[in-house]
């Protein structure tokens, strides 16, 4: 088929558009625009963070804008951020889907003079000004072990179901869990660490086979948000509710059923709403050219820890969800 007249008109207009682009003016600087990008939009965890950040941002007089990809896909997230750079936000905060893939576009943002924060999940250190982290790996790992040990009275066999064996954040938490047990609970015995690959069905099968393989097993740790509900289901189906203890990291929505029916006593995570608040507060500090300092008190968040050499801000302690407080959280 030969190119038609209409196609020629189309190409001409396209060429004019591109020409017009080349001689257009530079981006305008919006002085209070705070843009927050989650790994993906439309899931309760990030909605919760958005609500916290939006509240705090309007209190501090920032113009808040929240957007992101509709699927957890690093290249989609990069496209969204590239589109946002044209607005020249006053501060950009990103929860990175992939530390490596997000690094070039964040570096570019910094080159354009946009202050960059990472929150929830970090990029390479040179691609951002500050990393706003929820909880330190050490605190979180040790805390989860304490929760399990308390239920077990400090003795007995336990197993860990993690996400994937290569996830760096999960492995860091795992390291501190084991260390805490070795240091403080010598009478407890770790029998196995198995991957559930962030999949509820796989985690469920792993939990079932662990229950069969180790008849003296007294406790579980679920070290990725898909593992605890799967373990709880396995315990419930085996009729062992109340006899097998469990601790781990998951969201209240995934665990609500098992906590309300007493299969599980406590599940641990952090409050994403608070994390959002803190991110907005740090963004406001950057606009005022202030540096956060260790031990400072952030309204609605509490005392934060600041590590100037790694440019890292830590929100604080983990949050335990129990029958008493789980109804207050929705994510």
């Amino acid at each position: 088929m030969k190119p038609r007249q209409s196609s020629r008109i189309a190409s001409l207009t396209l060429a004019v558009l591109l020409l017009a682009t080349a001689c257009s003016r530079l981006p305008r600087n919006s002085k209070t625009l705070f843009v927050m990008v989650p790994k993906l939009v439309g899931i309760p965890y990030f909605n919760s963070a958005r609500d916290g950040a939006s509240q705090e941002a309007s209190r501090l007089g920032l113009h808040f804008f929240y957007t992101g990809p509709t699927a957890a896909d690093a290249s989609l997230q990069v496209d969204v951020i590239a589109g946002l750079l044209a607005r020249h936000p006053a501060v950009l905060a990103v929860s990175c889907d992939d530390a490596n893939a997000l690094t070039p576009v964040l570096r570019r943002a910094r080159r354009y003079g946009i202050p960059v924060l990472t929150w929830d999940a970090d990029a390479q250190p040179d691609a951002r000004d500050w990393f706003v982290s929820q909880v330190e790996d050490e605190t979180l790992g040790r805390h989860v072990m304490d929760v399990l040990a308390e239920q077990l009275g400090g003795r007995g066999q336990y197993a860990i179901i993690t996400g994937s064996l290569t996830a760096s954040n999960l492995n860091a938490w795992l390291f501190w869990m084991k260390k805490q047990q070795q240091e403080k609970y010598p009478e407890m015995q770790l029998v196995a660490v198995v991957p559930g690959n962030d999949d509820q069905q796989q985690s469920f099968v792993q939990a079932q086979s662990l229950l069969q393989a180790y008849p003296n097993l007294r406790g579980f740790i679920g070290n990725s948000s898909a593992a605890p509900p799967a373990i709880a289901r396995a315990i419930e189906q085996a009729g062992l509710s109340g006899q097998i203890a469990m601790a781990g990291l998951s969201t209240p929505n995934l665990m609500r059923h098992y906590i309300e029916n007493k299969t599980v006593k406590t599940i641990t995570l952090w409050d994403p709403g608070k994390l959002g608040k803190l991110t907005a507060a740090v963004a406001a500090m950057m606009l005022r050219h202030e540096t956060p300092h260790d031990g400072m008190d952030v309204p609605g968040v509490g005392q934060i820890r600041v590590f100037p050499e790694t440019r890292k801000i830590v929100m604080g302690s983990p949050l335990d969800f129990t029958r008493e407080n789980i109804s207050q959280y929705w994510f």
Binding site: R4, S6, R8, L14, T67, G68, A74, A86
Partner: protein
């Protein structure tokens, strides 16, 4: 069209002014859809620049043309595939294979040219595999590529073990950083390849065969056209273009992952269709494909600048696709009118 008989249609045409006659000719002759899409996008651009001062900023367009170029390359390949009467569902997976291959090559500290060659070769190999099954063994393209989509993403996942590669040499990242007159080189590469594609389509025997096969495969075979070889070439070219996209994506993200090309398959098919190419094959236009892919990215980017929430962006973009396809078809008139 209404149920007018040929005679009354002729009378109608004669009674029209010169301008409407011209429109009539266009309607009877072919494809108005790129024009419709361009008009829609132009209206959108006027609106977007009225609402957002950032829309016409140089920075916006510099950042916009990079993902556009990547999707554009896959769309050009898809244009040939669709023109030949087929479909390729495996393009995203091939991009993943090429990216992961580049990652492995970079891990072995190979020079930049070797990394690029490895990624291109991997893409071509995947395409040739499709071409062999579809062209030579005469299997259905939708079934073959559905299977190879899963196969290729499995291969990419297995090769990378699900991890992301980093640490690419600066020579490869050059594709992301380099710009000429403020326009990213990626975009120039895309335009150059588009020009080559236009030459292939309009001025080579192969291009003629592709269209002929798409119009009527059986007739093409009985006319003695090399159907198997032509189709093998179509899918191999698609693989090569996916390999190129893989390299550009790796450069832009400074990393490689198996799931990198995820969204590209639907985008490429939509871009070709938005340009007005019939999904059953037998016709193609490079410019219409460019218009299709550019429309998608311009509108999506504009909506982002206009503070439109992400889910609504998708709804509006797809609404544009439907409006354009409907308008293009209505204006074109029915098949009988054209004959």
């Amino acid at each position: 069209m209404t149920s007018s008989s040929p005679a009354s249609l002729e009378k109608l045409v004669n009674s029209q002014s010169k301008f409407t006659k011209r429109i009539m000719e266009l309607r009877l002759s072919g494809n108005l859809q790129p024009g419709v899409v361009t008009l829609l996008v132009l209206f959108f651009c006027i609106y977007a620049s009225y609402r957002s001062g950032d829309f016409w900023s140089a920075l916006n367009w510099q950042l916009l043309v990079q993902p556009l170029a990547e999707a554009g390359l896959v769309s050009l390949g898809m244009m040939f595939v669709i023109a030949s009467g087929g479909i390729d569902l495996s393009v995203g997976a091939i991009v993943g294979v090429a990216a992961v291959t580049a990652g492995i090559a970079a891990q072995h500290k190979l020079p930049v040219q070797a990394i690029e060659a490895a990624a291109l070769a991997a893409g071509m190999l995947c395409g040739a595999f499709n071409g062999l099954l579809i062209g030579v063994l005469r299997l259905s393209s939708i079934l073959v590529t559905l299977g190879s989509m899963i196969l290729f993403s499995g291969v990419a996942l297995a090769l990378s073990n699900g991890n992301s590669f980093a640490g690419f040499p600066d020579g490869l990242l050059w594709w992301n950083d380099a710009a000429l007159l403020g326009i990213p080189v990626e975009f120039f590469l895309f335009l150059a390849i588009a020009a080559v594609a236009a030459v292939l389509l309009h001025y080579t025997l192969w291009g003629h065969y592709v269209i002929a096969i798409g119009s009527n495969r059986v007739a093409a075979r009985y006319s003695g056209y090399p159907v198997a070889l032509t189709l093998f070439g179509v899918y191999t070219l698609q693989g090569l273009l996916c390999g190129t996209t893989g390299i550009l994506l790796v450069a832009r993200l400074a990393s490689a992952r198996a799931d990198m090309g995820q969204g590209l398959m639907l985008m490429a098919i939509a871009a070709v269709v938005l340009g007005g190419a019939p999904i059953v094959g037998g016709a193609a236009s490079v410019i219409a494909t460019l218009v299709g892919v550019a429309a998608f990215y311009i509108v999506q980017d504009g909506l982002l600048l206009l503070d439109v929430p992400p889910f609504v962006q998708y709804a509006l973009t797809s609404a544009m696709l439907l409006v354009a396809v409907a308008a293009g078809n209505l204006l074109r008139g029915s098949r009988e009118d054209r004959q």
